[in-house]
């Protein structure tokens, strides 16, 4: 086991532990801070998977923006959370059962699947799909060079989705302001 693989398992442990903290701690502010730790760990996994740009985006958006937004929300609704109030609602046991069963099913399905290999698709996978798969391309060192053309070139169909998602962001911005405004006149 080399150092980088050890690093992945350490990261996975940190992510799992802090995600458990996010859903179990009583103090919401601590939950938000552990959410930031989880997102930092996930950005480390993104780095491990060779997506430097997405790792940076993850830190900027989740650690920088979403966590701050959540902390603002917690502070604006502060005095509803007294320290003695229960953090969980009445369906704690059914929720635990659903989460464990869902996790187990996914776990078993994944461990019985054919995704054990670390390499590119096998020959069996290639023959299964009648479409001739492209020749293996060398993974570039920087994913920005591949992501930019994928995202906005009009050839491969993502330009329209890109424009749609910018309209969605704009309308979400306006909608959030309208919903949170004090006097709806």
């Amino acid at each position: 086991m080399t150092m980088t693989t050890t690093l992945f398992y350490i990261l996975a442990g940190v992510i799992t532990a802090s995600a458990l903290m996010v859903v179990t701690l009583r103090n919401l502010f601590h939950c938000a801070l552990f959410l930031a730790v989880t997102m930092l760990g996930i950005s480390g996994v993104f780095l491990y998977l060779g997506s430097e740009f997405l790792a940076a985006v993850q830190v900027l958006i989740y650690v920088g923006a979403v966590t701050v937004l959540v902390i603002f929300g917690i502070m604006l609704t502060r005095n509803v959370m007294d320290e003695k109030a229960k953090a969980m609602n009445t369906q704690l046991l059914p929720a635990l059962a659903v989460a464990i069963v869902l996790g187990l099913i996914t776990f078993l399905a994944v461990s019985n699947s054919s995704f054990q290999w670390t390499d590119h698709p096998t020959a069996a996978m290639k023959t299964a799909s009648s479409i001739p798969s492209p020749a293996p391309v060398e993974v570039k060192a920087n994913d920005v060079y591949t992501l930019g053309p994928e995202l906005i070139s009009p050839d491969n169909g993502f330009a329209f989705a890109f424009e749609l998602v910018s309209i969605l962001l704009l309308s979400a911005l306006v909608g959030a302001i309208v919903v949170a405004r004090k006097d709806p006149t």
């Binding site: 996930i42 953090a87 995704f115 962001l169």
Partner: protein, 104 residues
């Protein structure tokens, strides 16, 4: 260069998704529910990037999907927090099991 098998990324993603589902179903405060949703979305992102890296074969569509998921998650968080603040202003309460004025 990388020796971690794909399936371990999928295990991590499954664990994270299960934790997120538990957070959404069991927490009382609406902001905690929102945090559970964020955990689930990030589990999906790990899956997408793992498959792009190991099975993409030079196809980077998974990376584009992750960009869209992150964007939509940010928009969703903003709108959800606006709704939560609005509910708090109306009812002085953000517990999801007590805000039930729409119940018939």
């Amino acid at each position: 260069m990388i020796q971690v098998p794909t399936v371990h990324f999928l295990y991590l993603s499954a664990i994270l998704f299960g934790i997120g589902v538990f957070g959404v179903l069991a927490r009382k405060n609406a902001i905690s529910v929102l945090m559970g949703i964020e955990l689930m979305l990030n589990a999906v992102n790990i899956n997408y990037l793992a498959f792009t890296k190991y099975w993409g074969n030079g196809n980077y569509n998974g990376t584009v999907f992750v960009v869209f998921i992150i964007t939509i998650a940010a928009a969703e968080a903003a709108v959800a927090l606006a709704i939560i603040i609005s509910i708090y202003r109306q009812m002085r309460n953000v517990n999801v099991d007590e805000v039930n004025s729409l119940r018939g």
